[in-house]
Amino acid sequence: MLTKRIIPCLDVTDGKVVKGVKFENLEGIGYPPELAQAYEKQGADEIVFLDITASVDARKTLLESVERTAEKLFVPLTVGGGIRSVEDMRTALKAGADKVSVNSAAIASPELIGECAREFGKQCVVVAIDAKREGDKWMVHTHGGRRRTELDAVSWAGEAEDRGAGELLLTSMDADGTAEGYDIELTAAVADAVSIPVIASGGCGGPEHMYEVFQQTGASAALAASIFHYGTWTVAQVKEYLRDRGVVVR
């Protein structure tokens, strides 16, 4: 049986892992290669590496840092931030990424999703969606949450799937940094609308939130940052908590 994945996220700027609250007030935590390796040892199923300043500063993903991180990592590594073209994606894969996530660029030119899927296989292509609630729906934001689009998150998720995305990384901007739990409604709505895996992101304050998102939504994976970075919980402890409650984890 396929297990639910627990994914520590490294938000990286200037080669350092930071943890921001609601996409602002960035605080330094450590370096990506060391953190990634430590999380693999704890039992992390994957690592997500997001260059969170890439889009904003129009910089390319910090390839050197990706290379050093991939060097000693033997679980999948997803890299995102500043990916704008098939060539950018190829460069990230050559640097050691196993999957690449696209966000702003996929919205600016949606055909990019299909181009990348045809070249590298759709299992390589992750579409990241940052969504913020407005009334009874969620609107997609880009550029690290700074720019609102006219796209409805649920319908954009469907379009991303149709165009060849292999997976969605869904972040609730409302929940992000609050440690009060994932946005269950958003995650359920998106996971029900698509038949590709959805990674729930934003708001995790402990394993009870992961339990909740796995119980109440079709999410395939739960991503978290601060609970791991601050050592509140190890990945192993989180998995033990979930296993005790009947969630199948590795």
Partner: protein, 221 residues
């Protein structure tokens, strides 16, 4: 068994290296021009082999063993290999050991629903789309296999990332995985081994699998 003793230290020394012994097995990794070959190269190195990433498909055949890595789409891989299909097939039939990973295992079949190009055709049967509700099958799942390559793995969970799987029409299935129904996840036809999961991404279990594989290659030499 004759070993070549050298005093130089090899980088990344792990328990897989017998100290002072040079990795003997030369493994060619086929570079289809897409995707990340870094992981498989690194993992084979740690397992004690001497991997070379080979973009010239003709040179592939010079090594002790061939690895078809798990990157790219079916046609992307086959368009690079197509011209050499006959000599690759001849060589595999003649006994050159080969490990196919994910798409690299799928191309051993006659064809795939994912692409238009014919595969290598070593294994009778086609590659078909998974029938599960949520595809790609992405993440860690259990591999049930008695194959010697799994001896001593710390956990039966391996990492998968695929939408298609091989359906052999001959008796080559050596391992099975359940994703809303069972599908074959390990194939063996004499000297050729195919796995649908990614050992190079499967942490300690993948490392053990590859170490077993390299040991098997060493014994064959």
């Amino acid at each position: 068994m004759v070993t070549i003793r050298r005093s130089v230290k090899y980088p990344e020394s792990t328990d897989s290296y017998r100290i002072g012994q040079r990795p003997r097995v030369r493994v060619s990794i086929a570079d289809y021009g897409v995707g990340n070959l870094h992981s498989i190269r690194k993992a084979l190195e740690l397992a004690g082999a001497r991997p070379v990433v080979e973009s010239n498909m003709r040179n592939l055949l010079d090594a002790d063993a061939i690895v078809f890595p798990g990157v790219g789409a079916f046609d992307a891989a086959m368009s690079k290999l197509d011209r050499y299909r006959d000599i690759i097939l001849d060589r595999l039939m003649a006994g050159t050991p080969c490990l196919g990973i994910c798409i690299g295992a799928q191309i051993l079949f006659e064809g795939s629903d994912e692409g238009d190009m014919p595969g290598i055709g070593l294994i009778k049967g086609r590659v078909v789309r998974l029938s599960a509700k949520r595809v790609p099958h992405m993440g860690w799942n259990e591999v049930r296999s008695d194959d010697g390559m799994f001896a001593g793995v710390p956990s039966p969970y391996f990492y998968f990332a695929h939408s298609y799987c091989g359906r052999p029409e001959e008796d080559v299935t050596m391992g099975i995985t359940d994703y809303e129904g069972e599908f074959p996840s390990v194939f063996r036809k004499k000297n050729v081994l195919g796995v649908q999961f990614h050992p190079e991404k499967s942490s300690a279990s993948g490392a053990t699998f590859l170490r077993n594989y390299v040991k098997y290659l060493e014994e064959k030499l």
